[in-house]
């Protein structure tokens, strides 16, 4: 019988700068924190209902899978039921990662993981956006939390090239709204195809997403179009020819059905 219940509560130091979601998947508990600014965060784990009711347990913290030095602690009961195990972390750019509180009792180990990271753009578009030479196209990115600013890059192989809309207004327009950004690429050419990266800049770090753009020439859709049109013309011609051929072979057409049909229908008439 299951007897350990975990509750994760973050005592927050700066109210505005993080957001959390929690998931319970099987026996592993993971909590996600979206960090926007460098700040101090206190992570706490509350454990209750351990069998055999020990007076104290031993716990420690891990960062990214490695035990943090000197984090081992003996935790005593807070009230008759619960143990609270907490620690304050100073989160800077390099400190984003996975933090886990682990404690052991008897032979078992239990663990809760906190994922500290910048907000991610979840709805990545896996299919490329298709457009045509000479046309324009709008690429957009959305994110849940409002970043300080947005930036767009075009990827050339391994490097990223920043897109500067003010320097090149004939070809690019960038629209910045709170949670959404739109890049309009005008006067498309074949070289404009490729990977575009939108970057949401937060104080602590940037969060990136990408969109692929495909530029087709006008001939591309023409091929299926002509194919299908030819098929239609052929079919229509065949049907009309068949009809004319059939008609020239026998001049007669609809012949009278037997009287039974008429009688049956007349019967129907009477019913109405």
């Amino acid at each position: 019988s299951l007897h350990i219940i975990f509750i994760n509560v973050q005592k927050i130091v700066c109210f505005d700068d993080y957001f959390t979601t929690s998931q319970h998947t099987g026996h592993v508990i993971v909590q996600e924190l979206e960090i926007l600014k460098p700040q101090k965060i206190e992570l706490s784990c509350i454990i209750s209902d351990i069998p055999n009711n020990p007076t104290h347990i031993i716990g420690y913290w891990k960062k990214n899978g490695n035990e943090i030095e000197n984090s081992k602690q003996t935790v005593y009961k807070v009230d008759k039921q619960r143990f609270i195990f907490k620690r304050i972390f100073n989160i800077q750019v390099n400190d984003l990662g996975n933090y886990s509180c682990i404690f052991s009792y008897l032979d078992k180990q239990e663990q809760v993981t906190f994922l500290l990271k910048v907000p991610v753009m979840k709805d990545k578009r896996d299919k490329p956006i298709v457009s045509y030479v000479g046309d324009s196209v709008v690429l957009d990115c959305k994110i849940k939390r409002m970043p300080n600013t947005w930036q767009w890059y075009k990827s050339n192989g391994t490097e990223k090239v920043l897109i500067n809309a003010t320097a090149d207004p004939m070809n690019y327009k960038i629209l910045l709204e709170k949670n959404v950004t739109k890049l309009t690429v005008l006067n498309l050419t074949e070289e404009d195809a490729g990977k575009y990266i939108c970057s949401a800049v937060f104080e602590i770090k940037s969060s990136e997403s990408h969109v692929y753009l495909k530029v087709l020439s006008l001939i591309e859709p023409l091929k299926p179009f002509i194919g299908i049109t030819i098929e239609v013309v052929i079919l229509v011609t065949l049907i009309l020819l068949y009809e004319r051929y059939g008609r020239s072979r026998n001049d007669s057409s609809v012949d009278d059905s037997s009287g039974t049909d008429g009688r049956r229908t007349r019967q129907r008439n009477l019913v109405h």
Partner: protein, 570 residues
């Protein structure tokens, strides 16, 4: 009583002037009608797949894009009489071929569009008119080729709509992924030219023989007073003298005496009223399913199941109504199917869980297919194949009229439909995508109409009142679905995180105790900030709305049934 019956315009051979072949080339004509009807109904619906991308391209709002669809549908309906007139004059084949060409040209022109107005005119007006030129003749020619097997032929032809929708939806997605919206419109223009092939199949009937001697009275029924130009043409080029006079001229083009036909009036009124609640359950099926806790994919599956059953039900109904027990009583069968529709919806809220919804989807698909298959068959039966063309034209424009003047309540029902289907290109999701997105976009408009397996919900006042209530619970409803819940979190201003945090702290102890009893579930919960209580309001409101829909539909079906009974017996 019996006296009335004798003067009713007969549906028999006598009014046609010849015996329909009931087979042979008729089945090729059925295939042609299958294509034409399929394109007419499925094409506007399947275009909604492009709306999101076109909307981003032109930087317009949802409702502006939805206008494209509205205009297309409105024109398709308003073009009914025009189409009927042309069919009466020239026969089905030229009209369908011209219609197919029009839509093709319209789509190609639209692919070069630079403004949204360009799309309105090309896709909306010209495309809609072309589709109108496809629909009416396709229905009419079935009546010309079939009499005994007509219900079967009708059922098969009407099956074109779900089959083509099923085909066009993934095809459109494929085109969009590979060619973008412009290229797709261009290629669709070619695909739609296949309507011309369908038109080529619609060989006009030519007869040389005189009307058979054992028919009563030739074509001199008192009720069928005027000479129909097409009948004139049919009888081997002999010209009958045409009646002079203005009214007779109009009557020559389109048969206005239909408005004196009591059965036709009942049909019209019943139709107009029935469609208010007819398509609503399809609209609410997926949201209701999602509210019950099923994920998006399963909700999409429901609609696919519905479409598949619909596909099979239509020819099935045709087959059944062709039997000698049902054929004479086909109007009752139609009323029964409308009532069965209503009964289905009444039972829906009582069925538990996802399997309940699947069962409901199956039965509803059956009911829907039955009504659609019989819709035009009944009309043909009522007014006769000769006048059918005018009848269906007048019916569509009358259904269009109230809608153009309708109240903008349907805009609110879009709240219910705000499901952003993800980009999955699986067929299931596409049907869902198509239907719901179309509904989403088009219910923004106030002027939609829906027909048979129509596209759109127009909610009149009683339902609108419920939708108003729904609006109050908008945020509650948003809290129901997972996506919506995350959106709600977005909308919370940053500062309120503090309040939430303090709320959380005070709730800590309560939660501890509560969670102590909770088992660890494998499913992820979307957020631990539960500001709104999810379950209470959503259940009540969704249930209420669904019940109202079913009530409405049963009401209408009951009215329909009673009217037919009264009409037949008095």
């Amino acid at each position: 009583g019996g006296g009335q019956v004798a003067t009713m315009p007969s549906t028999t051979v006598t009014s046609l002037g010849y015996t329909p072949p009931d087979g042979g080339w008729g089945w090729a004509v059925v295939f042609g009608s299958f294509l034409s009807i399929g394109f007419s109904y499925a094409f506007p619906k399947s275009l909604t797949i492009y709306f999101k991308e076109v909307q981003e391209y032109f930087s317009v709002s949802y409702s502006e894009i939805a206008w494209v669809s509205s205009i297309m549908l409105a024109t398709m309906y308003a073009g009914g009489p025009v189409s009927s007139i042309l069919v009466n004059r020239y026969g089905s084949r030229p009209v369908v071929m011209v219609g197919g060409l029009m839509v093709g040209v319209a789509m190609v022109a639209a692919s070069f569009g630079t403004t949204i107005m360009h799309l309105y005119i090309c896709v909306g007006v010209i495309g809609g008119l072309g589709l109108a030129f496809n629909l009416q003749p396709a229905l009419t020619i079935i009546g010309k080729y079939f009499l005994v097997k007509r219900p079967m032929a009708n059922g098969l032809a009407m099956a074109g709509s779900p089959v083509l929708l099923f085909t066009l939806a993934p095809l459109n997605q494929f085109l969009l992924d590979n060619f973008g919206w412009r290229g797709s419109f261009f290629i669709l223009g070619a695909i739609v030219l296949n309507c011309c092939v369908a038109g080529a199949l619609m060989r006009p009937i030519t007869i040389t023989a005189k009307p058979p001697a054992n028919q009563s009275g030739g074509d001199d029924d008192g009720a069928v007073g005027k000479t129909d130009p097409q009948a004139v043409r049919l009888i081997d080029g002999k010209q009958r003298p045409e009646r002079a006079g203005c009214l007779a001229r109009v009557n020559k083009l389109i048969d206005l005496s239909l408005f004196k036909h009591r059965g036709y009036l009942i049909y019209l009124v019943g139709n107009v009223v029935m469609f208010f609640g007819f398509f609503a359950p399809v609209v609410f099926l997926a949201p209701y399913a999602k509210h019950q806790g099923t994920d998006e994919y399963s909700a999409a599956c429901l609609l696919s199941i519905f479409a598949l059953v619909d596909m099979v039900a239509r020819p099935g109904t045709g087959l059944v109504s062709n039997t000698r027990w049902i054929r004479p009583r086909i109007q009752y069968f139609f009323s029964f199917s409308v009532a069965y529709n209503g009964a289905c919806h009444l039972v829906c809220p009582l069925l538990p869980g996802y399997t309940g919804l699947v069962v409901y989807a199956v039965f509803f698909g059956l009911a829907f297919g039955m009504v659609c298959a019989l819709l035009f068959e009944v009309l043909m039966d009522l007014v006769g194949a000769q006048r059918f063309s005018s009848a269906v034209g007048l019916a569509t424009i009358i259904e269009c009229g109230p809608v153009l003047l309708g109240p903008p309540i349907s805009g609110k029902s879009c709240i219910i439909l705000r499901f952003t289907s993800t980009q999955s290109s699986k067929v299931n999701n596409l049907i869902f995508h198509t239907t719901v997105h179309h509904l989403h976009f088009t219910t923004q408009r106030s002027l939609e109409t829906c027909h048979a397996n129509g596209c759109v919900l127009w909610t009149p006042s009683p339902l609108g009142a419920l939708v108003d209530i729904f609006m109050d619970y908008k945020y509650m409803y948003f809290a129901c679905g997972q996506e919506e819940h995350e959106k709600k979190r977005e909308e919370l201003p940053m500062g309120s995180a503090r309040e939430l945090a303090t709320m959380e702290e005070t709730k800590d102890s309560e939660q501890n105790i509560k969670l102590n009893q909770e088992k660890l579930t494998p499913q992820a919960k979307s957020s631990f900030i539960h500001v709104f209580k999810q379950d209470v309001y959503c259940t009540d409101v969704a249930r209420m709305v669904l019940l109202a829909m079913t009530f409405w539909t049963t009401n209408i079906s009951a009215i329909f049934l009673f009217s037919f009974i009264i009409w037949a017996y008095f």
